[in-house]
Symmetry: C2
Subunit: 326 residues, 2 copies
C-alpha cells in the first residue's frame, strides 16, 4: 500500500500526539520530526528521524503533508505561511478573532506555491465548527450554544501561577449543568458568561502564603475569572501531581430550533476526552489524509473544515463508505 | 437576491415539510408541486402552483433543484433515475442495503444528462451517516453505536395494524438507557438487538377482540417484534388520537475510542425531533442549496452527504462562515 508521508513540525504535546495518532492509521507513515531544538536532545515517543527545522527544504520530495504543531500565539502565524511554500500543511490555529486575517495570508502563500494548507483543524475550531455549520444549515430558525468542559484550560492555569504566593495550579472550565438543561428543554435562554461556565481552581500555595489573599486575587482577576463563579481549592503538591496531571477536556454544541409549524428540534454534539492534545492530534491526522487526496486532485490554497467533504477524511474507498457508513 | 428555484415531486408528509422548510430560508422559492393525483384535489399548506407529474418537462428552465418526496420502497427507485434526466435532484432514499445499487443507477443517469443527484439525504441516512464517517475517521480505534428513538416507526405501526382484531396502532422504538450508559462509560459492549432497543406499542382493539391473542401475535411477529422486548398497551381510539398523533423521533450516534496511549475519547451526536418528516424536509432543503451551488461549479453524477463539503449547505458567504461559525 502506498503510504501518506507525514512530517511533524514542532514536537511538544501536539507533535507527540500526531506521531501516536499516525501509528493508528495503516495508510500513514511519519518520515521525520522537525524541531528548533538540538535534535540530539529530542526524545521521540516512537522511533523516527529528528531534524532541525532548517532542514525541511531537503524533504520536499519525501513528505506529502507537513503537520504544524506549534502554538497559535506566535508560532503558527509565522510558520504556516513559510512552510506552505514547500509543503501541503495542516495546522490547528485556534485564535478565533484572527482567523480571517490568518486565512488570507495562508491562502495567498499556498496558491502562489501550488500547495494546499488546512487551517484551524481540531475540535474547536474543528469538529465543533462542523456541528455549528451543519446544525444552522439544516435548522435555520433557532439558537446555537457552545459549552466547554469539563476540562483543563492551560491559559487559566498559567494565569493562576502568576499570582504571588502560588507555586502551581490547575484550572478546570466546567459547563453549568442547569444551563445545558435549559437549552435541551428548548427554552432558548440568553445566557451570560457566568451562567454558562464555572471555573474550578486547584492551587498549591507556597509555604506561609496568605491563602485568603491568593483566593481574592484569583477571583477578582479581570478577563480570566471576574466574570465567572470561581471555586478555589488549596491542595498539596502531591495531590496536584496524582489527581490533576491529565489534560482532559470536552464540551457540547447544541442547537435548539423549530420548524415553520412550531415543531421543536434539538441537535447536540458532545465530546468527552481523556486527553485534549491527543484527540486534537488524531483530528489533524485525519485531515492530513484529506489534504493529501485533495492536493492530488489539484486543489490549492487555504481550506478549513468547511471546505473539505467528509469522504476525503476516511481511509475507505468511496464505495465502501456508502456501503458501510451511509 | 437571486433565489434557488425548488420543485417538489410528491406531496405527502415529506412534500409538505419541504414546502414549510423552504419558507424558513430567504434564498429559496418553491415554484411548483408535482403530484400523480388530480391537482384540483391537492390542498397545499402554503400557496403554490400544483401540476401533474407529467408536466415536469415544461419546467426544465424554471426549476433549479427538484426534491423527490416519494417513498423508498417503490417511488424513488423508479422516479429518481428518470427525473434526474431533466433536473438536479435531492432524495431521501433510506433502504440501507440497496444504497450501492441505487447509487450506480442514479450516477449513470445523472452523468449522462449532466445533472447532479443527491441521494439518501435526511438524518439516517444523512446526519447520522456524517457522524459515523467523521467519528471513525478522527478516532480510528474504537466502536460506533447507533441508537434510534424514542420515536414512531411507521413500518412497525403498520405491521401491528395488520394483526386481526386491531383497529389502529402506534409503535415507538425506544433506546435502552442502560445500554447507552454502558457505551458512554467506555465499556465497548457487544449489544444484541434486544439489548439496544425496546418496542412500545399502543393498540386500539376492535370491540370484542381477544386482547391476549393480539398481544401474543404482536410479540411473536418475526423480524418486527420477536427479537425485542415488546410492551403492548391497549388504549381507546380517543387516547390514540390525542396522545399519539405526532411523529416524533430521534436517536444517538456514539463512538467510544482510544488513543495509541490508551486515553479514552467519547464522541456523541444526538437528535430529538418533535416531527420526523419536518426535520428530514429541513435537511433536504439545505442539501438542495448545496446541489445548486455544486451544479453551478460543473459537478455531475450521484452524490451523498459524504461527497458534499459543509460550506455548500450554508447560506452565508465562505468568508462569513469562517468569521462567525469556525
Amino acid at each position: 500500500m502506498e503510504k501518506i508521508r507525514i512530517g511533524i513540525y514542532g514536537y511538544g504535546n501536539l507533535g507527540r500526539g500526531v506521531q501516536y495518532a499516525a501509528s493508528q492509521n495503516a495508510d500513514m507513515e511519519v518520515v521525520a520530526v522537525f524541531t528548533r531544538r538540538d535534535p540530539e536532545t529530542v526524545q521521540t515517543v516512537l522511533p523516527v528521524k529528528v531534524e532541525r527545522t532548517d532542514k525541511i527544504k531537503e524533504y520536499t520530495d519525501k513528505i506529502d503533508v507537513m503537520i504544524l504543531c506549534g502554538g497559535s500565539a506566535t508560532d503558527l502565524p509565522e510558520q504556516s505561511k513559510e512552510v506552505v511554500k514547500l509543503f501541503n500543511t495542516v495546522d490547528s490555529f485556534d485564535t478565533h478573532p484572527k482567523i480571517p486575517a490568518y486565512f488570507e495570508k495562508l491562502d495567498a502563500a499556498a496558491k502562489e506555491s501550488g500547495h494546499l494548507g488546512a487551517m484551524s483543524i481540531g475540535w474547536d475550531p474543528g469538529l465543533f465548527s462542523l456541528s455549528r455549520i451543519y446544525f444552522e444549515s439544516v435548522a435555520p430558525k433557532g439558537s446555537t450554544y457552545t459549552f466547554w468542559g469539563k476540562g483543563v484550560s492551560q491559559g487559566h492555569s498559567d494565569a493562576i501561577r502568576r499570582v504571588p504566593g502560588v507555586k502551581d495550579a490547575k484550572q478546570y472550565t466546567v459547563p453549568v449543568e442547569s444551563a445545558l438543561e435549559r437549552v435541551r428543554n428548548g427554552e432558548n435562554p440568553n445566557l451570560s458568561t457566568r451562567e454558562k461556565h464555572t471555573r474550578l481552581c486547584y492551587v498549591v500555595a507556597e509555604e506561609g502564603a496568605d491563602l485568603a489573599l491568593i483566593e481574592k486575587k484569583i477571583k477578582e482577576m479581570p478577563d480570566y475569572f471576574a466574570d465567572y463563579d470561581t471555586e478555589v481549592h488549596f491542595i498539596s503538591e502531591e495531590e496536584l501531581k496524582t489527581q490533576h496531571s491529565g489534560m482532559p477536556h470536552g464540551g457540547f454544541v447544541l442547537r435548539s430550533s423549530e420548524s415553520a409549524t412550531g415543531n421543536k428540534f434539538l441537535t447536540e454534539f458532545s465530546l468527552k476526552l481523556d486527553s485534549n492534545p491527543e484527540f486534537t492530534s488524531s483530528v489533524l491526522i485525519a485531515y492530513a489524509r484529506a489534504i493529501y487526496k485533495m492536493a492530488k486532485e489539484g486543489k490549492t490554497g487555504a481550506v478549513t473544515v468547511f471546505d473539505i467533504a467528509p469522504k476525503y477524511l476516511c481511509a475507505m474507498s468511496e464505495a465502501e463508505q456508502r456501503k458501510s457508513l451511509l
